[in-house]
C-alpha cells in the first residue's frame, strides 16, 4: 500500500477534483502538464538554483541539546524558519512561480492565513516581475499586520476577504472566485496541500525538499537516513507533507501530526480537524472537514492564523484514516508555553504554528534513544504581538 497520490488524484478515499466547470480548463491544464514541467531539465535547474542561492537551502538540521535533555530523547529541528521570508512556504512558491511561467501565465493570485504564504508569493512575484494579488481574511489582516506590510512592500495587492469567518477559508473562496473570473492569464498559487488535484500532490512535491534534506543530514549526524519519528504541525498541512514525504511509505518512521485544539478540542473553539471532522468536500477536494450534520462548513478557531482551517489536505486525511499517522491536538495555551520554552532553551523563537508541534513533548513520551525530527516550519517574528499579549512581555 502506498500513501502517495494515485493517478486519479486520490489518497485512499480522499482527494479528487470537485470543482465547478468554470475551473475545469485551468485545473485540467495544470493536471495534464505539472509532472512533465517538473521533470523538465531547465525547470529542475532553475528550481534547485533558486532554492540554494535565493532561499538559502539546505536549511540546517539542528540537534537541540537542551530540549533533548529536558525531554530525555534526541530532538532534531529542521530549520525551515531560516528560509528566506521566514518559513517553508517559499519552497512551494518558487516551484509554482516557475510552473506559472512555463504555462505562460501573467498574473498570480494567492490566499493567505498567517501571511507567510502571502509573503512568500509576493516575494517570488517581485523576483519574477509578475502581478500579484493576495486574498487575506479581514481578521487575519488585523492580527498579522507586519506580514501585510511586507506584502505591500513587495508590490502585492492585498484584498480583504469579508465573507464568513473572515479568515483563511474565506480568503480561499475569494481566490477561487478570482480564478473563475480570470481563467486564461492567471495562475493560482495555493499555499498548502489542499485544493483540487493536482495541487495537493504538486505542493507536496515542491515541499519534499525538506524530507530529502532530512535524509541526507541525518545520515551524516546519526548514520541513518531514517528518524524514529517525524513531527509537524498541520493546518492544511504543507510543512508536514514536506517533512513526511520521503518517509510516507517507510513504516519504520513514525509520523506525528499536530493539530490546533484552540481552547480545547470540544470547546467549540478549535481547529482539530481529525478529532472533529468528517469526510466532506472543501475547496475542490474530498477530505476530512469540520462541518455541521447538514454539511455546512464550520468556522474553525486557533490562536495561530496559519492553523485555523476547517479541513486538512487529503494526504493527511488518509494518514489519519489508515492509522499511518498519529494525530495529536494541542491547545493554544500549551502551544504558547512550548514556544516560549524553545526561545529560552534554544534561543529560537518559533512561529506559533510550530509551537504546537513542539508542545507534544509534555505529554507524548519518547524513548531515550529515539531520534525525533520536528519540522520547525517558521519563525515567530510575525507572532510577536500574540506572544506579547499572551505573556504580558
Amino acid at each position: 500500500m502506498s500513501y502517495q497520490v494515485d493517478e486519479k488524484g486520490y489518497y485512499g478515499d480522499f482527494g479528487g477534483a470537485y470543482i465547478p466547470e468554470m475551473l475545469y480548463p485551468n485545473v485540467e491544464e495544470l493536471r495534464s502538464k505539472y509532472l512533465q514541467v517538473m521533470q523538465d531539465e531547465k525547470f529542475q535547474e532553475d528550481f534547485k538554483n533558486l532554492l540554494k542561492d535565493y532561499v538559502g537551502r539546505p536549511t540546517p538540521l539542528y540537534f537541540a541539546s537542551r530540549l533533548s535533555e529536558k525531554y530525555q530523547t534526541k530532538i532534531y529541528l529542521k530549520r525551515e524558519d531560516l528560509c528566506h521570508t521566514g518559513a517553508h512556504k517559499v519552497n512551494n512558491t518558487i516551484g509554482q512561480i516557475l510552473m506559472a511561467q512555463h504555462l505562460g501565465k501573467k498574473r498570480i493570485i494567492a490566499e493567505t492565513g498567517a501571511g507567510q504564504h502571502g509573503v512568500a508569493t509576493a516575494t517570488v512575484c517581485a523576483l519574477m516581475g509578475m502581478e500579484c494579488i493576495v486574498y487575506m481574511g479581514e481578521i487575519d489582516i488585523e492580527r498579522q499586520a507586519p506580514n501585510v506590510a511586507r506584502m505591500k512592500m513587495l508590490g502585492a495587492t492585498v484584498i480583504p476577504a469579508k465573507s464568513g469567518s473572515k479568515t483563511l477559508k474565506d480568503a480561499t473562496n475569494e481566490a477561487i472566485r478570482d480564478w473563475i473570473n480570470n481563467p486564461v492569464d492567471t495562475h493560482y498559487i495555493i499555499g498548502s496541500v489542499v485544493g483540487p488535484h493536482p495541487y495537493p500532490d504538486m505542493v507536496a512535491r515542491f515541499q519534499s525538499v525538506i524530507s530529502e534534506e532530512i535524509q541526507k543530514q541525518l545520515k551524516e549526524k546519526e548514520g541513518t537516513t531514517d528518524p524514529d519519528f517525524v513531527v509537524a504541525c498541520v493546518g492544511g498541512g504543507s510543512n508536514a507533507a514536506g517533512a513526511y514525504y520521503h518517509y510516507l511509505d517507510n513504516p519504520k518512521v513514525g509520523i506525528i501530526a499536530v493539530e490546533a485544539a484552540g481552547k480545547g478540542v470540544h470547546s467549540g473553539e478549535s481547529a482539530a480537524t481529525s478529532a472533529l471532522g468528517k469526510p466532506g468536500i472543501i475547496h475542490g477536494s474530498k477530505t476530512l472537514l469540520m462541518q455541521t450534520t447538514d454539511g455546512q462548513i464550520t468556522e474553525p478557531y486557533s490562536i495561530s492564523a496559519g492553523l485555523d482551517y476547517p479541513g486538512v489536505g487529503p494526504m493527511h486525511a488518509n494518514l489519519y484514516q489508515t492509522g499511518r499517522g498519529e494525530f495529536i491536538s494541542i491547545t493554544d495555551e500549551d502551544a504558547m508555553k512550548a514556544g516560549l520554552e524553545l526561545a529560552k532553551l534554544e534561543g529560537i523563537i518559533p512561529a506559533i504554528e510550530t509551537s504546537h508541534a513542539l508542545a507534544i513533548f509534555e505529554g507524548r513520551k519518547f524513548r531515550k534513544d529515539d531520534v525525533v525530527v520536528v519540522n520547525l516550519s517558521g519563525r515567530g517574528d510575525k507572532d510577536l504581538n500574540t506572544y506579547i499579549d499572551f505573556f504580558n512581555l
Partner: protein, 256 residues
C-alpha cells in the same frame, strides 16, 4: 417523460428563475414557487443554501448566509416541498453544492427529491466524470435529470461528452465569471452562443449568468432555448420581499 423534458418541447423561449430557499424569510419557499409559476415562469431552480458557495457572487452568497441564519436545512427544505405538487406542475430543479447532499446521503437525497416531485438537480461542484462513474445510475433510478454547466472555455470534446451524459438541457454559463457579475452581452459572448448553437447538440441550451431584464433575456435566447435569472431576482427579493414577484417577471418577459 420528465416535466423538464416536456417543457423543453414547447415552441417558445423559456424563462427559468433561481431563488435561494429560506430567503428572505424561512417560510417563503412555497409562496415564491406559487407566484413564479402563476406568472408564466417555465422552470424554477430552488437553491439549497451552502456556507461556502465558491461559484457564486456576493448577492447569492449573502442570500445563502441569510437563509442559513434563518435556520434553513436540507431536511426543512424537503418539508417545505412535500406538498408542492398539489399546487403546481412547473418543472422544479434543486441547485446546490455537493457537500450538503453527501452529508444527507446521496441516495436518500435523490429519494426525497422524487417524493417531493423534483425533476432535476444542478450541482456545480460535482464534476461530470465523478457523476458518470458514481451517481448517474442512482439519479436515473429516482427519475432525476442532472444538469451540467459549460463555459466559453469548455473544449468542444468536453461539450460533446457533457451532451452525451445529459438528458435535459445544458446550462450555458454566459461568460467566465461567478454569478451576478456581468452586464449585457458583448460580441464575444454572442459569438460563443452562436458557436454552441452551431454544434447541433442533442440537448438544448439554457443561458445563465448575466441575465437581468427583457433586453438581456432576448439577447441570451437569440441562439438558445431559454435563460436563467438568479442574482437579479435575489436582489428584487431583497428589496421588495415576496410582494412584487409578478411585476419583476413581467418586466423580463412581458405577457404576450
Amino acid at each position: 417523460m420528465n416535466r423538464i423534458q416536456q417543457k423543453l418541447q414547447e415552441d417558445k423561449k423559456l424563462l427559468s428563475i433561481y431563488f435561494t430557499a429560506g430567503f428572505p424569510e424561512m417560510n417563503d419557499t412555497q409562496k415564491i414557487i406559487t407566484e413564479l409559476a402563476k406568472n408564466g415562469v417555465d422552470f424554477i431552480e430552488i437553491g439549497l443554501p451552502f456556507s461556502d458557495p465558491l461559484a457564486d457572487g456576493p448577492t447569492i452568497q449573502q442570500s445563502s448566509t441569510q437563509a442559513l441564519r434563518n435556520g434553513m436545512t436540507t431536511e426543512k427544505l424537503f418539508e417545505q416541498l412535500q406538498d408542492i405538487r398539489k399546487s403546481t406542475d412547473i418543472p422544479l430543479i434543486i441547485m446546490g453544492y455537493f457537500n450538503p447532499m453527501l452529508q444527507y446521503g446521496v441516495e436518500k437525497f435523490c429519494k426525497k427529491c422524487q417524493e417531493c416531485g423534483i425533476d432535476g438537480l444542478i450541482i456545480p461542484d460535482l464534476p461530470v466524470d465523478v457523476f458518470h462513474e458514481a451517481y448517474q445510475s442512482l439519479f436515473e433510478k429516482y427519475g432525476l435529470l442532472n444538469i451540467f454547466l459549460i463555459t466559453p472555455q469548455t473544449s468542444e470534446d468536453r461539450i460533446r461528452y457533457i451532451d452525451s451524459v445529459s438528458n435535459g438541457f445544458i446550462y450555458m454559463v454566459s461568460s467566465a465569471s461567478v454569478t451576478g457579475s456581468t452586464s449585457g452581452f458583448g460580441e464575444d459572448t454572442r459569438a460563443y452562443f452562436r458557436r454552441i448553437d452551431g454544434m447541433n447538440l442533442k440537448n438544448p441550451q439554457i443561458v445563465g449568468f448575466g441575465i437581468k431584464d427583457e433586453e438581456t433575456f432576448k439577447q441570451a435566447t437569440e441562439f438558445a432555448k431559454g435563460a436563467i435569472i438568479g442574482s437579479a431576482f435575489i436582489k428584487h427579493l431583497e428589496e421588495h420581499g415576496t410582494e412584487k414577484i409578478a411585476h419583476f417577471i413581467h418586466h423580463v418577459k412581458p405577457l404576450t
